[in-house]
């Protein structure tokens, strides 16, 4: 009896991933708990452990294959009774055509498909109601491009009716007609003309394939910028007192080896300010405004090939040293792609800091479903006017981008006022 090893879902929203590395080869004996492969998603790399014991009969998906759908078989293990004899490889049709990222297979969100539901051609069964199938056929919709809201992720009438023509995964109309794919489901599909058609000849550039992270960043940012009514609010903060406090704190921490950064203090101040102005710590949902109980601060970390936002949970309840230690650990593991899904999913408020690059001010894109994101610029000496005198102070500009559906102008302004007080008089953070 052989057992199929399926592509695991590393997070509830994961639909596909890259099979980065095999740790076993055909004929290897594995037992439960052995690391057999590494899977890379848009956000993280994770090791896959064997659940069953047996001999690797066949590797179905080659190392380095991208776009492997969740629950697709990736290897076959001979079970107990056949542990020694390696059965002949099954017909090649049973292999998933994993190389093609656009292969019409359902997403993990809507099927937890046992292998027995795989059709002989290797395509997985799509669960959809008869009416949904009928309407999809009439509208020329590809069911594989939709996700289902019915029981067990079944695609139902409402899902198909809600699918806008723009979401056509595979429009049936006029194959071969020029520029027919005016789809905006994913950013990569929005491009109507090729670069060549736009006057950039092939061969004049290198094409880097889109990895999972790039696709996710592109999709989420496009959706957020397009669909969320957003606006920026900017304010200047004098941080001389903050810098002095930081020096003092670090001197105290020196013996224990700890160290806090300006960014850690910004995280703490933002968390405290969110508790003071809870309306800014909120999410818009169709059912109502979700008022979050804690400030879970997501901090944008640049990583090779993109960015990721690990989260400092309940930052409002944590001390500066704890925040500093956690931020350092999360950032390090983010750069080596070793974050667990629960460490970068969720969050009630985001902070993006480009001060280290000398950026004076910028406005980030709202990180849905959070109500606002704070963009932090460089702290630099600038002339300031005190009374009627010109003076020098270290000034840092910050910009709050707000989701206007939940954070109105006055709410954002009240948050920034509270934040300014905390930053300019850092002792108030510990009250």
């Amino acid at each position: 009896m052989s057992i199929d090893i399926l592509m695991p879902a590393l997070s509830p929203t994961m639909e596909e991933g890259t099979l980065a590395k095999w740790h076993v080869k055909q004929g290897d004996m594995v037992k439960s708990g052995d690391v057999i492969a590494e899977i890379e998603t848009d956000k993280a790399t994770m090791e896959v452990e064997a659940v069953d014991e047996g001999v690797v009969q066949e590797i179905l998906v080659a190392e380095g294959t991208e776009g492997v759908k969740v629950n697709a078989p990736i290897a076959r293990l001979s079970g107990d009774d056949a542990a020694v004899t390696i059965a002949p490889a099954p017909k090649s049709e049973t292999k998933l055509d994993a190389g093609s990222g656009s292969a019409p297979a359902p997403s993990a969100a809507r099927v937890a498909t046992p292998t027995s539901d795989s059709k002989p051609d290797g395509r997985q069964r799509i669960f959809a109601s008869p009416l949904a199938r009928r309407i999809a056929e009439q509208k020329g919709l590809d069911l594989a491009s939709l996700s289902g809201s019915g029981p067990h992720g079944r695609i139902v009438r409402a899902d198909v009716e809600a699918a806008r023509p723009g979401q056509l995964g595979a429009p049936v109309a006029a194959p071969g007609s020029p520029a027919q794919v005016a789809s905006n489901a994913g950013v990569e599909q929005r491009r109507v003309q090729s670069l060549e058609q736009q006057g950039i000849p092939a061969g004049s550039y290198d094409l880097i394939p889109l990895d999972g992270m790039r696709k996710t960043v592109a999709r989420r940012m496009t959706e957020s910028f397009r669909d969320i009514p957003h606006f920026p609010l900017s304010i200047d903060l004098e941080i001389d007192a903050l810098l002095a406090a930081r020096t003092k704190i670090n001197a105290l921490l020196a013996t224990s080896g700890g160290k806090i950064s300006v960014n850690d203090m910004v995280i703490k101040a933002a968390a405290v300010a969110l508790m003071q102005v809870p309306q800014a710590n909120a999410s818009y949902t169709p059912e109502g405004i979700a008022m979050h109980h804690h400030a879970d601060i997501a901090m944008a970390v640049a990583v090779p090939g993109g960015l990721i936002t690990p989260i400092i949970r309940s930052a409002d309840t944590k001390g500066l040293a704890a925040i500093a230690a956690e931020a350092k650990d999360l950032a390090e593991r983010a750069r080596t792609k070793r974050l667990k899904p629960e460490e970068f999913q969720g969050g009630t408020f985001s902070i993006s800091n480009l001060g280290m690059f000398g950026i004076k001010s910028f406005a980030s894109i709202v990180n849905e479903p959070q109500g606002a994101i704070l963009s932090v610029g460089v702290g630099e000496k600038r002339p300031v006017v005190r009374g009627s005198e010109l003076a020098i102070a270290t000034v840092m500009s910050v910009t709050l981008t707000c989701d206007h559906r939940v954070v109105d102008g006055a709410t954002g302004a009240r948050f920034l006022a509270a934040f300014k007080l905390l930053i300019e008089d850092p002792i108030t953070m510990i009250i």
Binding site: P130, L131, G150
Partner: protein, 463 residues
């Protein structure tokens, strides 16, 4: 005894008690408040005891047709007191069943009248001297018969009845006027007719069972008239007065005034929601025409306060209340809940029975669904002929564009037991192709469901 709960449910009808069980399954600490009997109207004064009476009536009436089956009986008779007693016993048995279920799920039953007060977060529930605090409160107080005292349409416990008095009469009336031809009016008319009463049913609208498909209304009236029931449709009741012998009902029919007399009148002119004396106004709960206004999750807009079932609006059916209640509590628990949009079937347990789900043909046309309509009469169904139950038909309505089943209407023997097949098909979003592909067992009356589906596409086999 701690008086703080995860959820307090006010009313223990099929909405309230089912919600309580589901809440307990979800690990919540639950209290349910009841002012009279566990199980509410449904199983004490509604769905269940009427079914018991109707069964007695049906059996008795069938004795009239024994000869058709080659049987004979010396002399038929009934003991009305026993008929009523049986109905009460059935209710008592189910009431004890609900008591057991509450105990089994460790749901605290608080007997008394509930009143809501502003609390911290959700409102608090005051019952007698107890103050129950809860994270969530669900109102499931149901509804009661609508009365029109201005026209004399209110129960007097003697000659003018609502469903409540009609369930426990001292004797069966010889003559009866039923005002209102909805499911409740028709069921009582059917029952008392079965026991031999002269029954006249009055309806303001131009046809009886006005919520049913027009064809079904017409067929029902014909079938009832064959049993000796009389109907006055498009007849406005102007006044009910009591006479020496019983009641006199003045009606206006096409400009002419007429007076009908009978021993007893049953008032079945709709229901009103039980929204009074709960303290809802003070909490700012929105009430429209005696019903609490809610969103699809049962939320009233007052934090932590929900309403489900009859009190939250139509259709006024026990199974709708249970469905809403389960959805509501699962929503509160943060679960992805059952589909609140599932179609809700309706049943009338007269002889013949009537059952339907989804749109009527007329509604389908009004909504521009270009319906494909199929029909199949029981008179050519083998099992129906063998059983001597050839009255009635099945009618199916499909969306002309997509082939989705959007309505089904049935009249005939035991159709109330068959309608769930169409409800299931609609819930699963079946199209004509799926109904055509389904194998119905032979010989059953359900084959008519298959045939009606085939007929809508010109593929009927046995006509």
């Amino acid at each position: 005894m701690s008086d703080s709960f995860d959820v307090v449910i006010v009313g223990s009808g099929p909405g309230g008690y089912v919600t309580a069980i589901r809440a307990a399954q979800l690990g919540m600490k639950v209290a349910i408040v009841e002012r009279e009997l566990l199980g509410g109207i449904c199983l004490n004064w509604g769905c269940i005891p009427t079914k018991a009476l109707l069964k007695s009536g049906e059996l008795y009436e069938q004795l009239d047709h024994l000869d058709d089956y080659g049987l004979a009986v010396e002399k038929r008779s009934f003991d009305f007191k026993k008929v009523v007693e049986r109905s009460r016993k059935v209710s008592a048995q189910l009431n004890a069943g609900v008591t057991f279920l509450m105990k089994k799920h460790k749901i605290e039953v608080v007997m008394g009248v509930a009143r809501l007060e502003k609390g911290q977060g959700a409102p608090s529930v005051v019952v007698g001297s107890r103050l129950l605090s809860a994270k969530n409160v669900i109102i499931a107080t149901g509804a009661r018969a609508r009365t029109l005292p201005g026209l004399g349409l209110e129960p007097d416990g003697d000659r003018v009845w609502t469903y409540r008095e009609a369930l426990v009469p001292k004797s069966a009336p010889k003559t009866l006027i039923v005002i209102g031809s909805g499911a409740i009016g028709i069921e009582f008319a059917s029952f008392f007719r079965a026991l031999g009463a002269e029954v006249t049913v009055l309806e303001t609208l131009p046809r009886i069972l006005p919520v049913e498909d027009e064809e079904v209304s017409k067929a029902a009236q014909k079938a009832f008239e064959k049993r000796g029931l009389k109907f006055r449709v498009a007849a406005n009741v102007k006044k009910l007065t009591k006479t020496k012998l019983g009641v006199a009902v003045e009606i206006e029919d096409g400009g002419r005034t007429e007076v009908l007399e009978a021993e007893v009148a049953i008032v079945a002119v709709g229901i009103v929601g039980n929204v009074e004396d709960l303290g809802l106004e003070a909490l700012g709960v929105k009430i429209e025409r005696t019903h609490i206004v809610t969103d699809k999750n049962g939320a009233t807009g007052v934090p932590g306060l929900y309403a489900i079932g009859d009190v939250a609006g139509p259709p006024w059916l026990a199974h709708k209340a249970s469905h809403e209640g389960v959805h509501c509590i699962e929503f509160i628990a943060g679960l992805t809940s059952i589909n609140i949009e599932s179609p809700i079937p309706g049943c009338t347990y007269s002889t013949p029975q009537i059952a339907s789900v989804g749109l009527t043909e007329q509604q389908a046309r009004e909504k521009g669904r270009e319906p494909k309509v199929g029909r199949f009469p029981f008179r050519v169904n083998g099992k129906a002929i063998a059983a001597g139950e050839t009255e009635g038909f099945v009618k199916t309505i499909f969306d002309g564009k997509t082939g989705a089943l959007i309505g089904a209407h049935m009249i005939g023997a035991e159709v109330t037991e068959m309608i769930q097949g169409f409800a299931l098909a609609m819930t699963l979003e079946a199209t004509e192709a799926d109904l055509h592909a389904t194998v119905f067992p032979h010989p059953t009356m359900s084959e008519a469901m298959h045939e009606a589906s085939l007929d809508a596409y010109g593929m009927v086999l046995h006509v």
